[in-house]
Amino acid sequence: MARQSKRSTARRGRTFVETVVEVEGRTEKRVVELPAFEPAAWKADTALEIVGARVPRMDAHEKVTGRARYTADIALPGMLHALILRSPVAKGNVRSFDATAARAVPGVLDVLATGDAPPDTRLFTGKISYAGQPVGVICAETFEAAAAGARAMAMTFDAAPFAATFEAAVAPDAPLVRSQGNLMADSPMIEGRGDIEAGLRAADVTITREYRTPVQLHSAIEPHGAVAEWNADRVTIWESTQGIFRVREQVAAALGISQSNVRVIKHYMGGGFGAKNGAGAHTYIAALFARRTGRPVRCVLSRRAEQSDSGNRPATIQRVTLGAKKNGTLTAIVLSADIPLGVSGWEGGPAQIYHELYACPNVRTEETFAWVNSSGMQAFRAPGYAEGAFGLESAMNALARELGMDPLALRRRNFTRIDLRRSQKYSGNALRECYDEGARKFGWASREERRQASANPAAPASVVPSSSVASVRRGFGMAAQLWPTGGGPPSYAQVRINNDASIDVLAGTQDLGTGARTVLAQIAAEALGAKLSDVRSIIGDTETLPYAGNSWGSMTTPSVGPAARMAAEDARRLLLEAAAPMFDVQPGDLETKDSRIVVRDTDRSMTFAEVTKSLGDVMIVGRGSRGPNPDDVTIATFGAQFAEVEVDVETGIVRVLRIVAAHDAGRIINPTLAESQLEGGIIQGLGYALFEERILDRATGVQLNADLHDYRIPTMADIPAIDAFFVGTADTVANHTGARGLAEPPIIPTAPAIAAAVADAIGAEMTQIPLTPWRVLGALENQRG
C-alpha cells in the first residue's frame, strides 16, 4: 500500500517535494517529483471505451503457445548451472568443508563455500542461523553434474541449540538468534486510541479469544531464479522478480559496481505473491559465477529450496478481546499478538486492520515480533491484514454469536465512514454496498431455508448436498476486508508513437500475471484515442525503460497507470500539434478516436499513420509521471465475502461449496482480469483456511513439508463455485484514472469467512487455521466436553 500526504497549493512551481509514503505498513519520507501537469480525473460518468472493457489479456497468446520466456527457461549459449548447498542444522557453524571430490566430478567447474563470497552478499559466512540456509554452491556444465558435485561435497557442521518457535525465542535462557537479541527493536509495538478500560466498562458483552495462524508459503510455480551474463564490466541479469530496479540496486551494492553496469530484465514471471521483491542468494551466486567463469550462469531454486527458503507469511498468535453494547456497538477492541518472524523480516504484523475496519472509539494493539531460527519472512499477499483479519473477523463472528446477532448486522452496525486510525476521510468507501450486494447474491437472508433444504434429499439441484452422508452439516459465514491501495510516486512512463503509428507504452514495471501489460495499454489507448490493437506495453528492463517501483502492495495500476495516462496525453498533445498545420486548424480543433485525427464537427480526418508518415523520422515521445496522493485522505479497497461449506462431523473434512465476494476498488480498468485477481486471492485464502501450514521438526528445526506434496496448495478439485465481482465506482479523489489497487484484498476475508461457516455448521468455534480434519474433530470433541 502507499499513501502520501500533503499535496498543497504551496507546492505549485516546485519540481520536488517531500512526502510521506507508506508501503505495506512501513512509513518513510521520500522526495518525489511533481508532474509537469496532471490530466483531469476521468469521472464516474466520463464515456470511456477501452478502459473498463473486457479485452483479452494482451500477452495471452505467448502464454498459451509456450512462447512466453520465463527466467527459469532462459538458455544462453555456453550457460552453466549453479546448485546451492544448504545447511542441515538450524544453528551453529560450518565446521569443515572439502571440495576436492566435488571439483573432480566431470562437468563441475567451480565451487564456492565458506569465505568465498563478498561480505555484502552475506553469503557463506560459515555461521548458520536456520536449517536450509545456503552454505555453498556448485557450478557445472549441466544441472545433473552440479547435482553429482553436490553429493560429492564433504561438509561437516557444528550444531548449536536453537529457538524455532516464539515460545522458545522468548524463554529466559533462549539461544540468541540474532546478536542484538531475540526481539525486534521497538517490540512490543503498541498503538491505540481512546480509553480501553472505559470501553470495556461500558460493554454489555465482552468476549476474549486466542487465535492462531500458520506459516504460509508463497509456493509460486516458477521458483526463484536468475540467469547472469557478464560483458566486460557489465552484468545482465534475468530475474523472476517483482522489482527490477530494486534488484539492480541490490546487485550493484553487493558486488560494488555501479547501477549503470547492472541490467535487470524480467519479461515473464511464474508468480510472485510478495516473495520476489528483491535479489536473493541465487542472484548473487549467478552473478559471481558468471564473472569467475566468463560464461552465463543459471541459478534456479529447487522446489525444496523454494518451499523452505524463499520467504513466507509468518505465523501469529492473536489474543483478542472485544467489548460491545447489546445492540452490537463496539466499545473496545484489544489485541495482543506474538509474531515469530524467522531470522529476518519487518513489522508486517496483524494489528493494522484492528484499527481500521470498524467504528470503535477505543482500540489498543500490542505486537511482539521475535527472531527465530527459521527462514526469514517476506511480504505475502496482504501481509499482516490476512493474518489480522482471521483474528478480528473470527472474533466479530464469535461476538455475534454471543449477542445472538446476525454477523452481517453486527458489521453494518459498526461501519465507519471515516478512517478513525488517521482521523481522516476515505477517498471512497463502498463497504456497505459490498455488504448489500454480496448478501443479496449469496442469499444471506435465506440461509436457514437453504440449510433446511440441504438436508432434504429431494431438494432442488442448486442446494442438494454434495454428499448424501448423514454426518454432513451445512454452514454459512462471512467476513469483511480493508486494505490500503493508493499507490503513489515515483513512477514514470513514456508513450512513443513510431512512424508507422504503432504505439509503445514504456514503463520499467513488471507484470506478475496480474495483467499490468494489458491495463497500461488500455489506459494509454484510451487517453490517446488509439485502437488498442495499435498499442503495446514494453516493460521489465532497467536499461531501456523509465523507473517504476516494485509491484507490491497492489500498487502497479494506481501508480504506473496515471503515469501511462499522462504520457499518452502528452503524446496526443504533440501529435495534434504536428497535425494541426496539415489541416490548417488549431490543435484544439482536433479530436482523436480509433487511431484517427478528426477536425471537430467536420468530416475531415487523417489516420495517425498518415500524420506520422508525413513527419518522417520525427519520433513523438510523450512523458508521464505519477504525482503525489491527495492531502489528508486514506485510499483503501474494501470488500465482503460470504462462504457456504459442508462439514462431515465423522471425518472432520471441510468442503467449501460457494464463495460470493463483493469488493470496491474504484474504477476497474479490465473487469475480466480484475475478477481473475479476486478468484486467485480467494483460492489462496481457501488454501490458508484449509490446508496450508509449514511444519518444522521440533528436534532439528528442519522443515518436514518442503514440497508440493506434503505442503498442500488448492487443486482444481478443491475449488468451490466462486462469484466474485466489484461494486463501487471511479475514485476520482485517489488519482486521475479513478483506479485503486485490488490484487491483495481478496485473500484477506476468505479464511475467516470459511472458519465462520465451519463454526456455523458444527456449532463449535474454530480458532486455529488451517481447518484440518483433526482440528475440526478436536473442536467437536472440546464442545462435547
Partner: protein
C-alpha cells in the same frame, strides 16, 4: 536414440540421468514445458508421451527411445491455434502463464478421451496440474467452452 517431438524426428544421445524435461528445454530448444518441482508434484512439465500424460521432469530421457512426444509447442498446427488455446485466451485462463503449458496439454488429453466432459470430470482430470495464481475457475470454463465448440466470446484478434 530416436524421438519424435511435435511431429519432427530427432536423433539424439541422452546424457546419463538426463530428464526428458531438460532434453526438451535445453537441447531441443522447446522452452514451453516448464520446470516447477522436479518431483512430479505440480504438473507444469506435463507432456504427452505416446499419447499418455507424463510429467517430463521425472521421465528419464533414455527411456524415451522411439517415443512420440507432444509439448505445448505442438498444440497449434500450421500457425493456427487449437480450440483449447483460443478458449484459454478468450476466458482469461492464464494469469502468470507458467502452469499454462501443462494445463493445456492435460486438457488436450482429457478432451481426446472424453469430448464432452462435465464440470466434475474436468475438475477430476485436471487436479494434477497446480496453479498458484488460482486460475482454476477460468480454466474449467475454458475447457468446457472448447469442448462445446463455443467460441462466441473469442476475439478474432487473438487468432494467428
Amino acid at each position: 536414440m530416436r524421438l519424435t517431438v511435435n511431429g519432427r524426428d530427432h536423433e539424439i544421445a541422452p546424457a546419463p540421468g538426463e530428464r526428458l524435461l531438460t532434453l526438451l528445454n535445453d537441447r531441443l530448444h522447446l522452452p514451453g514445458t516448464k520446470f516447477g518441482c522436479g518431483h512430479g508434484e505440480c504438473g507444469a512439465c506435463t507432456v504427452l508421451l505416446n499419447n499418455r500424460l507424463a510429467y517430463s521432469c521425472i521421465v528419464l530421457a533414455e527411456a524415451c527411445d522411439s517415443a512420440t512426444v507432444t509439448t505445448i509447442e505442438g498444440l497449434a498446427s500450421a500457425g493456427k491455434l487449437a480450440p483449447l488455446q483460443r478458449a484459454f485466451i478468450a476466458h482469461d485462463a492464464a494469469q502468470c502463464g507458467y502452469c499454462t503449458p501443462g494445463q493445456l496439454v492435460a486438457a488436450t488429453h482429457l478432451l481426446a478421451r472424453n469430448a464432452a466432459p462435465d464440470e466434475a470430470e474436468i475438475r477430476e482430470a485436471m487436479s494434477g496440474n497446480l496453479c498458484r495464481c488460482g486460475t482454476y475457475p477460468k480454466i474449467v470454463t475454458a475447457i468446457a467452452a472448447a469442448s462445446r465448440g463455443d467460441f462466441k466470446n473469442m476475439s478474432s484478434e487473438t487468432d494467428e
